[in-house]
Subunit: 325 residues, 6 copies
Amino acid sequence: MTTDYNNKGKKMEQILAQDLQKYLHTEIISLYIVLEKELREGTRDPYLRLKIGDKTGSVSANIWSNAVHFNNIFEQGDVVKIKGMVKDYKGQLQLTINKIKLADPEDYNLGDFLATTDKNISTLGDTLFRFVDSIEDDNIKQLVKSVFEDVEFFPLFAQAPAAKSWHHNYIGGLLEHTVSVTTICDFAAQLYPLNRDLLIAGALFHDIGKVYEYRLKTVADFTNIGRLVGHISIGDHLICKKAEGINAFPSDTLMKIRHLILSHHGELEKGAVRVPQIIEAIVLHYADNLDAQTVGVKQLIETVKNENAEWTEFDRINQRFYYLK
Amino acid sequence: MTTDYNNKGKKMEQILAQDLQKYLHTEIISLYIVLEKELREGTRDPYLRLKIGDKTGSVSANIWSNAVHFNNIFEQGDVVKIKGMVKDYKGQLQLTINKIKLADPEDYNLGDFLATTDKNISTLGDTLFRFVDSIEDDNIKQLVKSVFEDVEFFPLFAQAPAAKSWHHNYIGGLLEHTVSVTTICDFAAQLYPLNRDLLIAGALFHDIGKVYEYRLKTVADFTNIGRLVGHISIGDHLICKKAEGINAFPSDTLMKIRHLILSHHGELEKGAVRVPQIIEAIVLHYADNLDAQTVGVKQLIETVKNENAEWTEFDRINQRFYYLK
Amino acid sequence: MTTDYNNKGKKMEQILAQDLQKYLHTEIISLYIVLEKELREGTRDPYLRLKIGDKTGSVSANIWSNAVHFNNIFEQGDVVKIKGMVKDYKGQLQLTINKIKLADPEDYNLGDFLATTDKNISTLGDTLFRFVDSIEDDNIKQLVKSVFEDVEFFPLFAQAPAAKSWHHNYIGGLLEHTVSVTTICDFAAQLYPLNRDLLIAGALFHDIGKVYEYRLKTVADFTNIGRLVGHISIGDHLICKKAEGINAFPSDTLMKIRHLILSHHGELEKGAVRVPQIIEAIVLHYADNLDAQTVGVKQLIETVKNENAEWTEFDRINQRFYYLK
Amino acid sequence: MTTDYNNKGKKMEQILAQDLQKYLHTEIISLYIVLEKELREGTRDPYLRLKIGDKTGSVSANIWSNAVHFNNIFEQGDVVKIKGMVKDYKGQLQLTINKIKLADPEDYNLGDFLATTDKNISTLGDTLFRFVDSIEDDNIKQLVKSVFEDVEFFPLFAQAPAAKSWHHNYIGGLLEHTVSVTTICDFAAQLYPLNRDLLIAGALFHDIGKVYEYRLKTVADFTNIGRLVGHISIGDHLICKKAEGINAFPSDTLMKIRHLILSHHGELEKGAVRVPQIIEAIVLHYADNLDAQTVGVKQLIETVKNENAEWTEFDRINQRFYYLK
Amino acid sequence: MTTDYNNKGKKMEQILAQDLQKYLHTEIISLYIVLEKELREGTRDPYLRLKIGDKTGSVSANIWSNAVHFNNIFEQGDVVKIKGMVKDYKGQLQLTINKIKLADPEDYNLGDFLATTDKNISTLGDTLFRFVDSIEDDNIKQLVKSVFEDVEFFPLFAQAPAAKSWHHNYIGGLLEHTVSVTTICDFAAQLYPLNRDLLIAGALFHDIGKVYEYRLKTVADFTNIGRLVGHISIGDHLICKKAEGINAFPSDTLMKIRHLILSHHGELEKGAVRVPQIIEAIVLHYADNLDAQTVGVKQLIETVKNENAEWTEFDRINQRFYYLK
Amino acid sequence: MTTDYNNKGKKMEQILAQDLQKYLHTEIISLYIVLEKELREGTRDPYLRLKIGDKTGSVSANIWSNAVHFNNIFEQGDVVKIKGMVKDYKGQLQLTINKIKLADPEDYNLGDFLATTDKNISTLGDTLFRFVDSIEDDNIKQLVKSVFEDVEFFPLFAQAPAAKSWHHNYIGGLLEHTVSVTTICDFAAQLYPLNRDLLIAGALFHDIGKVYEYRLKTVADFTNIGRLVGHISIGDHLICKKAEGINAFPSDTLMKIRHLILSHHGELEKGAVRVPQIIEAIVLHYADNLDAQTVGVKQLIETVKNENAEWTEFDRINQRFYYLK
């Protein structure tokens, strides 16, 4: 059922950003994603100042000729094929680009340019489907299958990030987060008297609306429907439609599954549409928080490169630093 | 299209609660709604202590014989047919009931027993449909019609209350509130540069989920889906389904109508699913508040019977009194 | 009674900022407002870096000679008469100023340099006085007239902005906002059982303290009394003084008019001195919000020049973007 | 200047509530305040159930005859002259009242019936006037004198409570609180670089509006203007009027005194009209809090009669108990 | 190491409250806990009205003779030995007590009278010590052992409740909660890159201060130190003292263990002394919440006896009902 | 007992930053603290850009040669000995440094480089010890002495700042603040019925944990334990340890002293571990606030150099400006 999203397509020979040092004073041809683009006033003509890279790093680059022309043929977030010289400017690598064009989507995996889960997407998919298979209630199992066995939906789900700027904000982040939350809920179902089927379904579904909430270019950003409707109502509607496609799906079960999606943020001021009012919703809410917050802090810790640092960068969302030692 | 909901069915001769004084020491037969019911321990046998009434008032009543039996045949909120003696107990009227049974729904209008809008429901319906007709955009008009011309839905809509315990908490309250909010939005559309069609549709739709949020017995109370899913998500889903029934309904228009429903509470902590992010949503939110709060205060003022009173009862929701002079 | 504030004084020939392109490589003489002023270190001597303009646009300008001297003769926010060359610097227009002095206030309308309501101030004034005339209660009408027929006060009122940085932050903004809020209250008085005279007076008075809260230079800014006392208490005191000038003004009426002014912000944490405790105060509060928020969003939408933009700039006060399509 | 408010008028012989035990089985004539009054249904006729007392205690009392008649001649909060028998009902004292009428205000001191400051009001007044005399700035001193030397105002001020249900909620409470806050501010003026005259005036004035905010009957309650306008705006207006009566009172000084009154609650959500923006306002705010909170807790501690109690009653305003040992 | 706290002492023959019906019209001798006690006025003499019971139920009881004397020999919360008649009063069982005295603590287990965990305390203890043994770091293990192998401390710990009125408010509740939280943390240590030893120690210690925060009589209540110092600072100090008893305990490790205790409430306004600033503190906080909230809701659900009920009683702490179906 | 901390050590000849103008075009040798340090890319080689100074001011400085080498031998916050030329760059003084090395701590007083209380530290110490001596209760006096007569602790206490970025954020700030708060509490003990000994001890102890919360380099910054444990728990633990060293220190007294430390922030959301629950804690909390806020505003006012300024810089913590006139 699952495809290997880590290894899609046949890609051309590529020089990783982290290896550019080896090509100093050489002309190269390679693909990179455009991270920043700015048309600047030069002493005579305008020039294009770029930041390009891949998931191994980034480098600044300049286009000195025909800058206005080139400015119109690609956007920030595009993958481009460039031809240029690797130079040293005041001790820093820099590219002088002579040719640039949009890369053919057939020629690369977006995952080579964007941050991606460091877990295996295929394995995560397998785990998810084992949870699906473990559901005993026929109606609930049928509903869950109708969502995740949808061959148009699942690839989108497996590639989506789980957030814009905090936890799991990378390719495969939504799948990774969903599997973790479901794993915790599965464990909780052994500790407390719960309707396990309901809880597993709620865990698998809780963030599915995020598939349509973010758009994946350089960094995840909101779609229009993501802002105006939001992932919770997107997911709520998606499940309702799937349930309508199932003959005589019990309305009380659907009501509870909707409740799990609508209440998983816990409190209205944190975006919950309803506060949790069934025990499974309580568990789902804290399992979601446990995974999201822990992984968010883990990611922030991993960005610290300085071995002597005692504290992370300031976490603006939670207004604090984290101790590293 | 609209029926006259104030005058449904053929009812039996009825003695209004406010006229019971005239029947002192007489045996009467009449219909009343059961407002309170309690099985109490008597000196020998248990007895039933009731509070019964209609929209003109209420009276206490006792069933001294077969109390346990009668206790099982009706519930609080039911309309019952009783036979009993009107007595005076320490200066207060009291009924001693000898026979009691559930009334036949064909024999009465619920509106005779519950509080009802003091406006004419039929006229309100006409006004609503004039707003429907005034929409120019064909898609939006078709969507609005598909909702309000649904002959199963509209009677429910026209009878529903708009709240449980604050503004418009009576039969027809939802219709009255919807018409008022739409009237204010219509006026605002003359003052500001807006998409009037979108705003009118949003105003007409904003609370439709309340049709399924409350159950109408003695007093409005929440349904299970009202608590677990809430009127906003109920309404959101209802509109989505109706739009799916329309050929090629523009997705951007649907997204904005959903946004109007999802954001009309204005702030997350007040139950909004999204904060208003289009100008029509700003207008709808304040128009909704203007009508709801003004009518809420108006109702509280009207409950004051003492002509010398300078202040209303304490408004617990808003934590204040209102000055009457 | 009202003067035409859009067209005061006899002004000299003026080159609009939007027309400067036509004067490239020419020496011009014209009036502009100083939007920014900074004394910078030059390679040899300091120079003055300015941003000057009028309500049609702005341009950067430099004074290379006698910068320290010129720095002392005008301030940001002043209207100045300049003589200088229109140049092109890296594709952008720039002025090299040779002579600069303060303009004579007789020679210009401040409204030509500052943002101004796009409605006709004279017409707005007429509408306001029609509301005044429509008041039936003699005492209230006399009080309202004593305020708005004050020939020193009204010109200040008609010119004042209604806010510093959100809605109606331009010349005439206070008058425009007052007329809109009163219009909405007038409409509400047809929908609900209210004391219309009281409500109209409250609407006309609610923001009058703003006349002294802001100072009008380049952009509206707070006066000292605006910060230390605030427009609500300024307005409250102003009305009290006017009422004391009326023979036997009823104290209960004055108390309620003061309450309308003191409570129109609705909640203490939003600056209300009292929460609304009469029904007219409820209506006024929401009418005020409806106009202020709608016009605030409308202004933000109008600043978007890019036709392809889907969202406005971020609204920092309300922490959101607005959708444009 | 000050009168002895503790000892106004010539009163009749009075039997203190705490001495009633001595009069068991005796007929007495005495004055009491009516703390509670309720017309109850009796087995045959209605009767009046009262709670009457003075500042030494209270006792229940019944009027068995002509209850409806007597019910109309006095209200809760009135001082009445009664004639009745002192009885014992199940171990508790009880009065059977035969005659009752309103007492002549000339015959008693309200202070004998209501809780009163345990400090000497005359001494407090002297202290206050020493602070007035210590002000050096002529304008400020003149303003302060014009307020406190007003012979109609000062008696009201000296008798007023400082709150309805928390600190200093008794006769003389406002004077006592004002003197304490001024004492603390005077001390702070020795610690910090401040404008002492301004601070002392602000301290003396900060709560003067409370003179008109509460009505003194059985317990302090809000007046209409207390609720609709509030003591801060009442005080602000009172000071403005007094300043207008002084020739050429400096507007900047008045602005700062108004600011001290308007900001002394510290934060908008605690009722401040402005947040403190001068250093004297900071000091006044914390001095006010220090006295109000400390005395509030002191009063709560003093109500505990049980010597073994380890904790006070629950303080609902601050949501806590206080430890007594 | 652990004792069986469910089965301490040799108890006398005891008639369970739930079996009293069988003893109607019989004189019994048995032990009960005093749940409520009130000295009431009788027609002639005062009498004592009691509510007594054990963990199987409760019954009302009266002492008609020598009530004042008996009132002084026992308190609410005491276990008493009574001799009395089982009677029927208006269909309800009632005891008429003739003799009553304090029970000898040797004769009963408090656990027979108070609510107790339905898990086996001995097994919970074993699980806890397996977690202790699984710690690899010698210093941390030594610290944890010094706490839980303290033979005076552990019995108190094993008996303590984990809360006053929400989750785990029964004998053994603290042990049960501690084991559950540690179990969840142990599971999380498999999912995330963490210092497991630190996290397990933090989980075992997080609530140990509660041993001294509550007093166990009829229902858990706060001790004086529980209110004035609180369980977090009690626990913090307890761990510091134990660490000082260990030779060269690493200060950085102690600092982090203290941080885990001090931060486990997550946010200052929920009682956290510090916000979580290490990843283990994030995990502990959410694991604590997951267990506490889930068990709190589980307990509330279990109190519902009515099989037809669709919703629980209102949860005042979280302001909501829970759906039961 | 106290040493003069303002005048420690024998220092070398030092050129104050404020006197550098006199040394223009001269080579100097002097000591300065490094306020900022940045390695910048130069046209050929990197160079070091510094900001150095002492408590009289600061100046920018450059190291053009061997910048990478010098970059490794000192850090921001170090005191360095430099040899360099005083130059004028575009009208601003600038140093070109030729030699730089770490200064010998024996050669300087840190107080010459950092902001220091403008009160005499020795005198403040004397005042503090007079408060210590005034305590009458032997146990409390012994505890207070054991803390402040600790010869390792007191010098640290006398040098510590009382905050990082608001009030008293300078050398001696903690001592100055402690003495002020104790002075206010001493005064309050004359006004209210309090346990003065307890209150004085609480005032002296309330912030002692700050000794270990901040590290004093260029500007005060948090230590690791300051962030992870916080000054309140550090102080709480410190007092517990000292009390354990006293024979039979009364546990109830210790509990109340701990409560004073734990509750002095007043509210949980402001960092209080407990809310004040004894009257002395109420007084301490407001005395602390009165001193901290007043001095914070005083410091902000003192930073304004412009004599014409009417308002201070914006106070980000309290979100306001302060009026200066």
